[in-house]
Structure formats: structure tokens, C-alpha cells
Amino acid sequence: MPQGTHTVEVPLDIQTIWNFVHDMNNWAPLVPGYIEHEILSERQSTWAFKGDLGFMKKTVKLQIDIKEWNEPSEVTFDLKGMSDNFKGGGYFRAEAIDEKTTKMSGHLDITAGGMMGAMVNQILTKFVPQTAEELTEAIVAKLLEINLVK
């Protein structure tokens, strides 16, 4: 199962991070290759993005279903391809280290199914952890930009 977790220490308190992360509209555009997203309901949204696999780019549409919101420390979600055969999930976790510092983790797992599954999963083995890292880093950069640079 292709997956990746990326953890960063952020010089911000946990509530600031939660305020940002709990609203998908804030971070959806930070997904690498973001094209658009649409909020369908409080828990459901669709996303389109262009995944850069190095030797090619693939536009993918996903449906994201939020599974849990555990304020202020966790958002978990399921995802599935709308016209491509894969599914998976992910989470953002925040853990207060002290009042001003938070450990933030982003996790993603995506598994391709169908007859090409084994092959696609081989490609995703590199892509998924890279995306988890890039997304987490982009969220941190955005958080720092809006909270530290006044």
C-alpha cells in the first residue's frame, strides 16, 4: 500500500493550526498540482489536481469524505478516485509540544485497484510519500506566512 507520513515542528500553538486545518477551503489549494475543489457538504468534497509523476502528469478527480474531526488535534478522511480506480485516506494530526510549538503530521495512503493495480501502485510508491511531504510543508509555510509575517 503506497503511503507516506510527514511530520514537522511548527512554531505555533495547536489552536492556530486547528483553525486553519479544520476548514478544507484553506488548504485544498495547497495540494500539489491543485486545479479546483468543490465542497458538497460539511463532510464531502471533490477535488481535481494534476499529479506530477515525473515522466508524465495525470489529472485526477477525487472524492474526499471527512471521517472524523477531533478538535484540536485530528482530521481524518477517506478518498477515492472518481474516474480512476483507487482509494485510500489520510489525516492531519497536531500534538502540542508546548504553548507555542506544535508537532504536525500529514499522512496519505492511496492504493490502486483493478487490473493495472500492481503497476500503478509501483508508481504511487514514490508519488504518495512525496505528495504527503509537499502538502504538509506547504500547509506549514502558509501557516507561518499568515501568522508570523504581520
Binding site: M56, K57, T59, V60, S83, G117, A118, M119, Q122
Partner: protein, 542 residues
């Protein structure tokens, strides 16, 4: 820039080769074999060109691999076959050179380099049902799997076709089902097949012979000596740095065709094709250099045609990628023009079928098939075959038009609904009768190549089970194949038929010496390698 003799050179070598495709690397191996110093220039950031991106199959008559498999071949038969296809558009001595030298080139590569092939037993010749064709076995050769680690850091630079799994021709579903587990294992241990295996093994042979390769360095202009011979190349890097390289023994143009140069496409081809299925980079640089040097031209209105399909979610180097697609030959499908009418046997070879796109209607004064043309199919085909990137059993993606009735589908795609309804009614009748009197579907080898050839059972299936689908089919090409005219040594000749000293061409950078034919799988890489080899050999030995 000047193209006259220069006294200042940044580097002096014996032979300069432009490009890193099959023609170029075979030429480089041949030139370097005798110890000559060879410099290879590649315009893009990757090596291998269309060849690496391709099936990598050369078509080589009388090759020793087929002999080992027990397949008989015969010189006279091959020559007659090529002549039959060429319809008087190729010169006999060039056909004979190809037939006589091709198998020697393959044997040389086998004996002296890591380049290896397999004769794919279950992969017949495209025209196997023609009287003149080979009936048993094939002249096509399938590159054996090769480990990219053998060329060290160059391995990462070998171009990759995103659609092709690392399987050989036979493993690639040609004879019943792809084993995606094998694919995954090969990907993990860096083993490649098809065009990448051919390029990587040729490149290893180049490395073994001390050939130097510079990437992101395009040949821009030929340097001519005072008596009209070619003595070097002016090259430009991607950072616009200019170098002058001397070639003591010759310059070999093997930098592919001109399919990505709109101006040249418009000037020379029968129709402005919209969907090259090759990687960008082949922009006719060799053609322009050769024209300036006074080369005669050949086969200029031709290309290796292909009816291209598109899954718009795939992009390759910033372009939506045109793909070879699949499903066109299948039952339960037809191809129609804007009037909803069939206009061609849908399952003929990819080089032949698009020629019907050029038909001219002198009454209506138009090209009725110039597109958009559509493959129309039903749920039965959708359920049974991979169509472009759509796997059976998975929901149709949103980029495929679909409707519950034929009329609704026609309206959706802007095709004459009455025409399409009538055409499908006729098609379904033909399927019931088991004959297609209009275009003879179910009669040729290619339309069911590896499952016994065309037959009513394989190819005539009614379009009757909704939903109905439509996919556009575009005029595409695997490359152009017109260019400077060459002789049997791979030398570029002028309009008097005299060789331009020091100038050679091979592959899609030259006019195809076999004319506008695609005799079977490997019809382009075969002559590219053979005349590339002859060019490299002649340059250093003459």
C-alpha cells in the same frame, strides 16, 4: 552564425551524430567500432527520442533470430513483398541493400554488443494474408529485457513512454493478458523492455566504445568546407551557448522527423496532422540543415500515420498526450465521419487506415474525413477490451461521450444523427450476415493480429447494447519519414544524385529508403538502424 570553414573548433572528433534514437546510436556504434572518436549530440534533456518511447521493434528480413525459431525466410520473397507494398515508390537498389545488410547488422549487434532480441513467435506479420507476405513467423524483433543499472546514471535519462508497461511484445498482452505483477517487479528492479531496452543496450555499446554524448545540445547548422563537404556542426546548448565541433570524417543526421514543426508539416504533408504521438523534440532540424546543404529530398508528403486517441487526463511534457489507443479493431464498433458514415476498413494497419482521412470529394468540394472522426462503440466492447485507458468493468470516465440512444449520442458529438442511425442499422445487418460488403471488416490479419486474424467472429459485432459511446480519432503519426535522400551508404545526395561529402542521414531524419511502406511491426526502426549502421561504417571507412 556562419556555415563556412572555420579555424576555431571547440572540439575535434571523427564523426558527429545528431540525435540519440535508434538510427543515431546504431550509427554511433558502427562508427566507433574501429576506434574512431564519436560525439553524439542530443537536443532534449533525455536520451532515446521516439525510439525509447516506442515498442523498439525493428523489422529485419532474414534475421538469425527467426532462423533459430525455425521460421523460413527468402531473399526474393522479401524483395517482392517490399516492392508490392511500395507501389513503385522506392528504388530497387535501396530495397536490396536493406534486405541484404539488415540481418548482418543485427548479427553484428548480437555478436559484439549487449543488444539482444527475441523473435516473437506469436506475433504475425501485419499483411500475413497478402499473397506476397510471410505466412509463418515474423521478421519483427522484440528487444530483450535490459537492466537500466547497466548504464549507470544515464539510466535515469532514458525516455519513457508513460503508457507502456515494461513487458516484451508477447508479454504485453499481445498473446493473452498482461501480468501486472511482473510489471511491478520489473519496475522495482529497473528492468526495461521495448524501446527503452533497445536504447539502453545500444547506449551501453556506445559507452563501451568511448562514444561521448552531450545532452541539451542541439545541432544547429552544418559547417561546410570550401569544396562543399561537411566538416563540422555548430551546436547550441539549452542556455544558448554556441559550440563549434569539427567532424573529420562525417556528420550523421539522425535527429528524427519534423512532426513537431508546424511550418514544415504544413509545407510538406498531405494534411495538417494534429496529434503526433511522439515526444516533442523532432522539429525537422536535420531537414533544414540538409536543404541548406543542397540535399535532394524524398518521400516528403509521407509520415508513419497513426489514428491517435486521447485521454485528456494524461500529459507528457506539457502537452496532452496523444496515444496509440486501442479498441479500434474490435467488434461492436465502427469509425465514422461527421456525416455519421463509415469511410474505411477500421481495422487496417495504423499506417494505412488514416490514409482514408485524405479522401477528397470533388462534388462537395471538401475532405469529408478530415475530422473530427469518431469511434462509435457499445457497452459490449466497453466490457470486453481496454479502450485507450479505460479498463473493462470500470465506469466510463467523463471525457468519453456516452448516451442511451444512437441519436442522442450523435447530437452530443455533432454528427448527423440520421446518417449515424442508418450506418449502424446497416452495420448490424452486415454483422448478422457475417460479411461487410462496404469495407470488408473481418478479412485481414491485422484486425485481430494475435488471435488468428480478422474473421466475422472476431470483428463483426453488432452495436446494440447501450449505453453507446463515442471517442474522437485524430490524424496522428509515429513520426514523419520524408527528408534528405540517401544512397546505399547512408550518404545524403544532391539533386544530381552525387553524395554530399561528409554528410549522412538515417531514420526519420532521412527520406525513408523503402518509400511510404510500413511492412509490419518494426517497419520504421528496421531501416533506421540498418541505414544508421551503414552510415556510421561508411563515414569512418571511406
Amino acid at each position: 552564425m556562419s556555415n563556412t570553414m572555420t579555424t576555431h573548433w571547440d572540439k575535434e572528433v571523427d564523426v558527429i551524430v545528431l540525435g540519440t534514437g535508434g538510427a543515431a546510436l546504431t550509427a554511433a556504434v558502427a562508427a566507433a567500432e574501429s576506434g574512431s572518436k564519436v560525439l553524439v549530440l542530443e537536443k532534449t534533456h533525455q536520451i532515446g527520442g521516439t525510439t525509447a518511447f516506442s515498442g523498439g521493434v525493428p523489422w529485419i528480413p532474414l534475421n538469425h533470430y527467426m532462423k533459430e525459431q525455425g521460421f523460413e525466410d527468402n531473399r526474393e520473397d522479401v524483395i517482392n513483398f517490399i516492392k508490392r507494398l511500395a507501389l513503385d515508390r522506392a528504388e530497387d537498389h535501396m530495397i536490396e541493400t536493406f534486405v541484404d545488410k539488415g540481418h548482418e547488422v543485427i548479427k553484428f549487434l548480437h555478436d559484439h554488443t549487449p543488444v539482444r532480441f527475441v523473435s516473437p513467435k506469436s506475433y504475425p506479420e501485419y499483411y500475413a494474408r497478402m499473397d506476397e507476405a510471410l505466412k509463418h513467423g515474423t521478421r519483427s524483433l522484440d528487444p530483450a529485457p535490459f537492466n537500466l543499472n547497466e548504464i549507470g546514471e544515464w539510466g535515469e535519462l532514458v525516455r519513457q513512454n508513460p503508457i507502456f508497461p515494461p513487458l516484451t511484445l508477447e508479454e504485453g498482452g499481445a498473446v493473452g493478458g498482461i501480468d501486472f505483477q511482473v510489471v511491478a517487479e520489473r519496475m522495482q528492479n529497473n528492468t526495461v523492455t521495448m524501446g527503452r531496452a533497445l536504447i539502453a543496450s545500444l547506449f551501453k555499446a556506445c559507452l563501451d566504445r568511448g562514444v561521448e554524448t552531450l545532452i541539451e545540445t542541439a545541432g544547429k547548422e552544418l559547417v561546410m568546407g570550401e569544396d562543399g563537404q561537411v566538416v563540422g556542426v555548430i551546436a547550441e546548448t539549452k542556455d544558448e551557448e554556441i559550440f563549434r565541433f569539427a567532424a573529420r570524417k562525417g556528420v550523421i543526421l539522425a535527429s528524427g522527423g519534423f512532426e513537431w514543426n508546424k511550418q514544415l508539416v504544413k509545407a510538406f504533408l498531405k494534411a495538417e496532422f494534429t496529434h503526433p504521438v511522439t515526444p516533442p523534440g523532432n522539429e525537422g532540424d536535420a531537414l533544414m540543415m540538409a536543404m541548406k546543404a543542397g540535399a535532394a529530398l524524398e518521400n516528403m508528403s509521407e509520415a508513419w500515420w497513426y489514428p491517435a486517441m486521447v485521454d485528456p487526463t494524461f500529459e507528457y511534457e506539457d502537452n496532452v498526450m496523444a496515444q496509440l489507443g486501442s479498441g479500434r479493431q474490435g467488434p461492436n464498433s465502427i469509425v465514422v465521419n461527421k456525416y455519421g458514415r463509415r469511410f474505411v476498413h477500421e481495422g487496417t494497419t495504423y499506417n494505412d487506415m488514416p490514409r482514408a482521412f485524405f479522401n477528397y470529394d470533388p462534388v462537395k468540394v471538401e475532405f469529408p474525413n478530415e475530422g473530427p472522426n469518431w469511434m462509435i462503440f457499445d457497452q459490449q466492447l466497453k466490457d470486453s477490451q481496454l479502450i485507450v485507458t479505460m479498463s473493462p468493468g470500470e465506469p466510463a470516465p467523463e471525457w468519453v461521450d456516452q448516451a442511451d440512444s444512437i441519436r442522442e449520442l450523435a447530437e452530443k458529438i455533432g454528427v448527423d444523427p440520421a446518417g449515424l442511425e442508418d450506418e449502424i442499422r446497416k452495420w448490424n445487418e452486415y454483422c448478422e450476415q457475417g460479411v461487410d460488403p462496404d469495407f470488408h471488416r473481418g478479412t485481414i490479419q491485422f484486425e485481430a493480429l494475435t488471435s488468428g486474424g480478422g474473421s466475422p467472429a472476431n470483428n463483426l459485432g453488432k452495436i446494440e447494447k447501450g449505453p453507446f459511446y463515442a471517442l474522437p480519432i485524430y490524424l496522428g503519426a509515429l513520426g514523419t519519414n520524408g527528408g534528405p535522400k540517401i544512397n546505399e551508404n547512408g550518404q545524403v545526395v544532391n539533386f544530381k544524385g552525387e553524395p554530399i561529402k561528409g554528410l549522412y542521414a538515417a531514420g526519420n531524419a532521412s527520406g525513408n529508403p523503402l518509400g511510404p511502406i510500413y511492412p509490419s511491426a518494426g517497419g520504421t526502426i528496421g531501416p533506421a538502424m540498418v541505414f544508421g549502421f551503414l552510415a556510421g561504417q561508411h563515414a569512418v571507412n571511406s
